[in-house]
Amino acid sequence: MTINSDEVRRQLSASQHDHAAAMPQFREALKRVFDRDSGAAETAKAALVGVPSRRSFLTVGSATVLGSAVLVGCGTSSKKTLPVSGTSIPAPSSTTTTAPGSSEMDLTLLRTAQSIEVLAVQTYQTAIDSGLLTTPSVLDAIKLFQSQHQDHGGLLASATRNLGGVPYDTANPFLDVEIVTPALKAATDQAAIVKIAVILENTAAQTYTQAGGVLTTADLRAAIMSIGATEARHLTVLYEVQGGNPVPLPFMPTRDAAPPDSYIGPDGPVKVPTAPPTTEAPTTTKP
């Protein structure tokens, strides 16, 4: 094989230049998205919805709900005792070489995922009805995403039944109360709606990626990622609508996956929201 030395030097030089130029932005992006102490990501969330800034592990009895080895996106060392509802989730093992999942967790993850899909369908309907999506292509995208989330919910319901469980066909109450409803109430324009969509799709995508390393069978993992990959595609479109980097990271993180408080266990939501979940139509643009 002939190697053109001048071409090699040029490509290496270009690559180094690109890499050096990209690194500050990459670091900044990491800080913005991942740095707990910078406050940037939390500030943005707080300004929008008042989401709790720390995720926490649930403790049922003396066991951690999900193996720490696998919860790469789920939080801190602080453990919180499950306060209410009587819902218990069996705790799988948490060693580094023991698979983190369990059949009970499989059902929990499927039901939680379905609840997120239902929430997305509902939220997008509210967005469509609000009249705030004024760009035709954006409106069309949201409608398409809504129909796909509907399909996703159907697959998850089917998977849940196959495991002997009962599908959870209600919008995720924790995420609805904590994130969506306040955000929709505050939304006054298309940009705000798109921000809500980004949060939803990002939560979904990261939840699916996380589940991909927890679900106990290859079939379940394939099912979940057949959906997760599409949520990531949704995200890219929304990032482009926002004028941002359509593929900002080389790996899908899991830090912003649905928190354990939002899980739907065998007996229902792990944490009962403090307000009834309603996805109300946002106020129209103020004069």
């Binding site: 490509q11 993992r221 990622m225 057949s226 359509p246």
Partner: protein, 256 residues
């Protein structure tokens, strides 16, 4: 150019890369780990550390000879991965295949860039996505077994899967314009996403599956970008579900 000179060039590039990545590995570890279990942290940090040790030297198919005399800006990967021994051999074979696929796609992007037909945003996109694929290859390498300390066999350098490369290189060399190259990129990313979907349904080990689950969405996102740039019908780049229809089956494309 002698191989010695080429190696010196790539070592120089990798030195720059390592310098820039010094603090980034901790940032990435923090982003990906967020766990307090010391053993898990140590294990995962090793996983992430391998992302910063440079990618692999890419071996190009002979069909790419006129345009490829290119090697990504990184030296050969050393097998410093630490991994659980729980990953079965069948999974390791699949992980190696995926690594070779990533390197092949990275190499194909290098070939496209070398044609000079990509300019502006498509050129920057190709460079960015090529970097992503290099990082994917590094991450997958982190799952592979580390040679025993008593093993004096020279470390095998991961190489691009040549059977995958030859799928795309003839199209690259004969591509008349940027649109044709972007179409190749779209096809590659679509195949990659499909292949990882196939892998998700095959892998038995949760760690390997978890790693793949962080990569598959990115390949899907790459496909969206190219699909939109080409104004392809939306159903081609926004399917309701990721399928395996375009997958490169390891049994058919196993590296020679």
């Amino acid at each position: 150019m002698s191989m010695r000179a080429l190696r010196q060039l790539t070592e120089h590039a990798d030195e720059h890369h390592r310098e820039a990545m010094k603090t980034l590995q901790d940032e990435l570890a923090e982003a990906h780990l967020a766990t307090t279990d010391p053993a898990a942290v140590a294990n995962r940090r090793s996983f992430v550390r391998n992302l910063t040790l440079g990618g692999a030297a890419v071996a190009f198919g002979t069909a790419l000879a006129p345009v490829a005399g290119l090697v990504p800006a990184a030296m050969a990967q050393t097998a410093t991965a630490t991994t659980t021994s729980d990953i079965p051999n069948a999974d390791l074979t699949l992980v190696r295949f995926a690594q070779g696929l990533e390197l092949a796609v990275q190499g194909a992007y290098a070939g496209m860039i070398a044609t000079g037909k990509l300019q502006g945003a498509p050129l920057e996109t190709a460079r960015t996505f090529a970097r992503h694929h290099g990082e994917h290859a590094d991450a997958l390498g982190g799952l592979l077994p580390k040679p025993a300390t008593s093993d004096t066999t020279p470390t095998t350098v991961p190489a691009a899967n040549n059977r995958v490369l030859v799928l795309f290189t003839p199209r690259i060399t004969s591509a008349p314009d940027a649109n044709a190259l972007m179409r190749i990129a779209f096809d590659m990313e679509t195949a990659a996403a499909s292949t990882y979907q196939l892998a998700m349904g095959t892998l038995q080990n949760w760690e390997a599956a978890g790693a793949v689950a962080t990569i598959e969405p990115i390949e899907a996102q790459h496909a969206v970008v190219w699909g939109q740039a080409l104004n392809l019908p939306i159903d081609q780049w926004m399917p309701a579900f990721q399928t395996t229809a375009a997958a490169l089956n390891p049994s058919q494309y196993a590296a020679g």
